[in-house]
């Protein structure tokens, strides 16, 4: 803890504090009135549009490209091949040094000589409009020689399978093994050992606004301005500069409103790199906005895992060990710069995490294949780890005839056992599994639902209850990327200043993609300063005009950026009180700020309005006592140092009904109890959780990128790729347990991914609970009617 005791109390307990209150987002009117600043809408003078001609083959040699006819089409500015673009931008390799053994091959902005997935760009067509560029792209003749495609992750490592990148020697990108405790001894001493293979469909984020970038190379300034819908502006700045041979000062990244990100926009894509390079090459602004088909074919995919799991259990319910063997296929390259090993690595880190047993063995293998690249999407690895863990716990409970709640009560880490460390080395500062479970059972009336379920079974109505406890990684320190050599900041900075009319300008390095970064920053700054929120203006998303920092991803905005805002506001407050004390011939300790005025600390009597104080400071400093040098701007940065991650925890429950004749599942209700520490804005937290749950339910029931055996994505459109829609969603009730992190004064942990982490696991457990009378176990998502009917032997 930092600061005086009074300050520590004041942040959360000040009168008129916005912390813990649902207040409207400051950006709401702007967005609702259609005045959002989305890159998709941006027009610049002389701007041209790029369309990428993309490979129809999963794996092929490019024999020749004939673009003569395309170049003669109306409106065409240029047709550029990978070879030509290589003169402007260098290739990259998506590896990190702390992922030991992770390998990948050099990837280029546009393919040179060979394409490795259906959708990889082979040429760029730049024209005066997107339509003209699409017309011209149709005129390009590419001669391909098809190569064998590696599509099945299960055979990717077979000696008979072609090696995608010969220089790598095999198709294994990454492997990690872990053994803690003594799993063999534990399993041999168990009363029952249950195993299953869990299958997870490949899916993707489907942002409302596709990826969009406008790159504007100003040759006169030798400076590139990138307008991009990204979660990490400084990361984009670093990487664009690195591969274009520029200094970071020559690159400015501007990121205003973003139409959804979900981790999809935290990476650097080849077509974005190509757009930067094309602007430099052609010396004019170039715009790329992915269309929906391109989004499906090139936005990162995630989750495509097959994970074998084993659990040992004693008759009294004691879980003795967890064991997993996870396999995932990531496409032909490891994504840049965060790598595609992270999801599998997280699975290893997180399996068994809520539970007491210290016996844990894991292996994860990550293989290359000729499909679109996989990487991090909301709740990276968590849904897999949670589904495997919670699926195994339910199987164990069923095996020994114990209620799913009871086995969890007996095995979840006790709420007073912290701090402690998981078998995979994860450090838990303070979690609340038992309090959360107790609250959940109350909210859902567990006993009542069980009675209802039993009664309905008599009428051939099959309902199920599924429970899933989970842990979530938030507020990552440098342990995530920095230690591996990635230039991705784990700290964030906030600058706060008091302007001449007493209003507050706040520049923050976290970004806003709809989760409420702007709101939470204003709430914190307003509360700490004693200023009303309408006086606080938050500026984000501009590398020229904000402190340096990481951005918004990995549930870090509130916990890290929020703490920086708190600390900066505290300094500014102290500075204001110093000046006020001089003006009022008082002492800083005798004064406070409340309601936009400096007030008497004891009785709250207004002494001087902030606008008046600012007037004196900026326009009549001559009237201040000698020696007073007001500093009405303060900057602070924050990064967690004590714990690599601020783990959160929670538990979800699903209540659903299965039509066993049609295989259709009706979600009746969903509950979440979550502990993200200090809650800054309850509505934003709850809506984040609900949105996350919906994405998890999409994975559970609907979403899957369906590839054929030739590596063709066969459902790259919104009619065939089924995103969850409101009509199928249940009411989602949310409760909280609050265990603030002591690493920061704010005490906030992340809340952005909790919903996604456990939703599918709860649904899968509920489905198996509903199907128990049929003796059927399903460990595959999405749980489509076809899957259900097949398992039931109806078809």
């Amino acid at each position: 803890m930092t600061g005086s005791a009074m300050d520590a109390l004041s942040v959360l307990d000040r009168p008129n504090s916005y912390i813990g209150k649902t207040v409207p987002r400051p950006n709401l009117d702007r967005l609702l009135q259609g005045r959002g600043q989305y890159v998709s809408d941006l027009e610049l003078p002389r701007m041209a549009h790029v369309v990428f001609l993309r490979s129809p083959h999963a794996h092929a040699r490019i024999v020749s490209i004939d673009a003569d006819a395309a170049r003669r089409m109306p409106g065409v500015v240029a047709v550029v091949s990978g070879r030509e673009l290589e003169t402007v931008i260098t290739p990259w390799v998506g590896v990190l040094s702390h992922m030991k053994g992770l390998k990948s091959a050099p990837q280029r902005a546009i393919a040179v000589g060979r394409v490795c997935w259906q959708g990889e760009a082979v040429a760029a067509v730049v024209a005066t409009s997107r339509a003209a560029a699409e017309d011209a792209a149709e005129q390009i003749a590419v001669d391909y020689e098809q190569l064998d495609a590696v599509t099945d992750m299960r055979t990717a490592l077979d000696p008979s399978t072609p090696i995608i990148h010969a220089s790598l020697g095999d198709n294994l990108a990454f492997e990690r093994a872990l053994h803690a405790g003594d799993v063999d001894l534990a399993l041999s001493g168990s009363d029952a050992v249950v195993e299953a293979e869990f299958l997870f469909g490949r899916h993707t984020g489907v942002t409302l606004e596709p990826r969009a970038v406008v790159a504007d190379w100003n040759a006169a300034e030798a400076r590139l301005t990138i307008y991009q819908g990204t979660q990490a502006p400084h990361m984009v700045q670093n990487i664009a500069a690195l591969h274009l041979g520029l200094k970071e000062t020559q690159v400015r990244v501007v990121c205003k409103d973003v139409g959804g990100s979900f981790g999809i926009k935290v990476h650097i894509y080849a077509d974005e790199m190509a757009t930067y390079a094309l602007s430099k090459l052609l010396r004019r602004p170039i715009k790329f906005v992915a269309d929906r088909v391109e989004s499906f074919n090139t936005d990162i995919h995630a989750r495509d895992h097959r994970c074998k799991g084993r659990i040992g259990v004693k008759q009294d319910g004691t879980i003795t060990a967890f064991e997993i063997d996870d396999l995932t296929g990531i496409g032909p390259y490891s994504m840049y710069p965060r790598t595609s090993a992270v999801e599998a690595n997280q699975v290893v880190n997180l399996v068994g995490g809520p539970y007491l047993t210290q016996n844990y063995r894991a292996r994860a293998r990550v293989v290359f294949q000729n499909k679109n690249v996989m990487c991090q999407y909301r709740a990276v690895g968590h849904p897999i780890a949670c589904s495997v863990t919670e699926g195994l716990v339910d199987l164990a409970a069923a095996k020994i005839g114990m209620d799913p709640v009871e086995i969890r009560r007996r095995n979840l880490i006790a709420d007073d056992a912290y701090p402690c460390t998981s078998p995979s080395g994860m450090k838990f500062e303070r979690l609340s599994h038992h309090a959360s479970l107790t609250k959940l059972l109350q909210m859902m009336d567990y006993e009542g639902l069980r009675a209802e379920q039993a009664a309905l079974r008599g009428t051939k109505v099959h309902r199920g209850i599924g429970i899933a406890s989970f842990i979530e990684i938030t507020n990552p320190s440098a342990a995530f990327y920095g230690v591996g050599g990635a230039k991705i900041s784990s700290q964030d900075g906030v600058a706060v200043r008091l302007d001449a009319q007493g209003s507050v300008i706040c520049q923050t390095s976290i970004t806003e993609q709809g989760q409420g970064s702007e709101s939470l920053t204003a709430q914190i700054v307003g509360s700490v300063l004693g200023v009303s929120m309408d006086r606080v203006r938050v500026i984000l998303g501009d590398t020229d005009n904000t402190p340096y920092g990481g951005g918004t991803w990995a549930s870090r905005g509130a916990g890290i950026g929020g703490e920086a805002a708190l600390q900066a506001a505290k300094v500014l407050r102290a500075n204001i009180l110093d000046v006020a004390a001089a003006i009022l011939q008082s002492t800083p300790a005798g004064l406070d700020i409340a309601g936009n005025s400096v007030v008497d600390a004891i009785d709250g009597t207004p002494r001087i309005e902030l606008s008046e104080l600012a007037r004196i400071v900026y326009f009549r400093p001559d009237t201040l006592p000698p020696g007073i040098r007001p500093e009405l701007m303060a900057t602070r940065h924050f990064v967690p140092r004590q714990y690599p991650f601020a783990f959160t925890n929670g538990v979800q429950a699903s209540w659903l009904e299965i039509d066993t004749e049609t295989g259709f599942i009706k979600l009746l209700k969903h509950w979440v109890v979550e502990d993200c520490g200090t809650i800054i804005n309850p509505q934003l937290v709850d809506e984040q959780i609900r949105g996350g749950v919906v994405q998890g339910l999409g994975a559970a029931l609907f979403e899957k990128c369906i590839y054929d055996e030739r590596g063709q994505l066969t459902n790259a459109n919104m009619a065939d790729y089924l995103v969850p829609m409101s009509g199928e969603m249940p009411d989602i009730e949310i409760g909280h347990v609050v265990s603030p992190t002591l690493e920061s004064e704010l005490g906030a942990k992340g809340a952005g991914e909790a919903g996604t982490a456990g939703a599918a696991a709860a649904v899968a457990n509920a489905v198996n609970d509903a199907l128990r009378p049929f003796g059927v176990i399903i460990t595959e998502i999405p749980l489509t009617p076809q899957v259900i009917l097949t398992a039931l032997g109806r078809i």
Binding site: E138, E661, G663, F664, T714, M725, I795
Partner: protein, 293 residues
């Protein structure tokens, strides 16, 4: 996802539309509600030289009862089927079906004529008009002809409509007293294309079907007026009778497989629909659950 360049003509009358179609043949496409045509053009699956927009033609609009016939103009939008008092009274099946068509934004634009001319085997309205014994009125420069709904659909996106013809209206007998209707479909999400669906019209006397028309959709290349219905007509329906009808139905079906359902699953769902339909129409829940075991 930008359509290739095309010419656009806003037809001023049906005669004018027919002239344009005659002049351009199969290089022209009729634009009605555009809810299937425009996405196909944006995906460049279709690149017509000319769009003939019939959207402003008042003569193609409106729902009316003439004698014992319900006449529905080709430009009647799905939302109009939901709201029309005449449809509610004389063809409630259409209203029930329309509620399953996509989402409000699409129902506000999509038209009955467009849906029938498009002939997507998974769409609701073709099966309904087959069940309702409707006649499709088409006009060519040479004059008008009437095609029975059961003769109109020829395959996936294929109809009896010639390139120079325009679908102008649908006629059907106004509902006689005593008809009962059933509509149900299975779709992954509300508003999605059905995996399997059934529209049915029945006349029930004394707990028996004296007439039964079963129009299955999404289980073949066109709506199927199931012959299995004859097994259920003028008999006392028992689980055995129903099982026999279901077996007949399976023999009639030739469903395609796709990402949502295999042919076997579609056959299975068609039988479930049959049982649920019969159980609902006869108000005999025992038939549904009894047959399921």
């Amino acid at each position: 996802m930008k359509a290739a360049a095309f010419a656009y003509a806003r037809a001023t009358s049906v005669v004018n539309a027919l002239e344009l179609l005659a002049a351009h043949g199969d290089k022209a496409k009729v634009l009605s509600g555009g809810q299937s045509l425009m996405p196909a053009m944006n995906l460049r699956l279709l690149s017509p030289d000319l769009l003939v927009d019939i959207g402003g033609l008042a003569e193609l609009q409106g729902v009316a009862v003439k004698g014992g016939t319900l006449v529905i103009g080709a430009l009647t939008r799905h939302v109009d089927l939901l709201r029309s008092a005449e449809v509610a009274l004389h063809a409630p099946l259409l209203r029930e079906a329309a509620a399953h068509i996509a989402h409000p934004a699409i129902r506000n634009r999509g038209t009955l004529g467009g849906s029938l001319a498009h002939a997507d085997p998974a769409s609701e309205l073709p099966a309904c008009i087959a069940v309702l014994d409707a006649t499709i009125v088409v006009r060519a420069p040479s004059g008008e002809r009437r095609i029975a709904a059961t003769e109109f659909f020829k395959g996936i996106y294929e109809t009896a409509l010639l390139p120079q013809e325009l679908l102008v209206a649908v006629e059907m007998p106004a509902r006689g007293k005593g008809s009962a209707f059933f509509f149900q479909e299975y779709a992954r999400r509300h508003g999605d294309y059905a995996i399997a669906g059934l529209a049915a019209r029945a006349t029930i006397d004394d707990g028996r079907f004296s007439d039964l028309r079963l129009g299955f959709f999404a289980v073949g290349d066109r709506p199927l007026l199931a012959a299995a219905a004859s097994k259920l007509t003028n008999v006392s329906v028992t689980p055995t009778v129903l099982a026999d009808a279901a077996a007949t139905l399976v023999d009639e079906l030739d469903p395609q497989g796709d990402q949502q359902a295999s042919p076997a699953m579609r056959r299975h769902l068609a039988q479930v629909l049959l049982r649920r339909c019969v159980a609902a129409l006869l108000a005999r829940p025992d038939l549904e659950t009894g047959a399921a075991q």
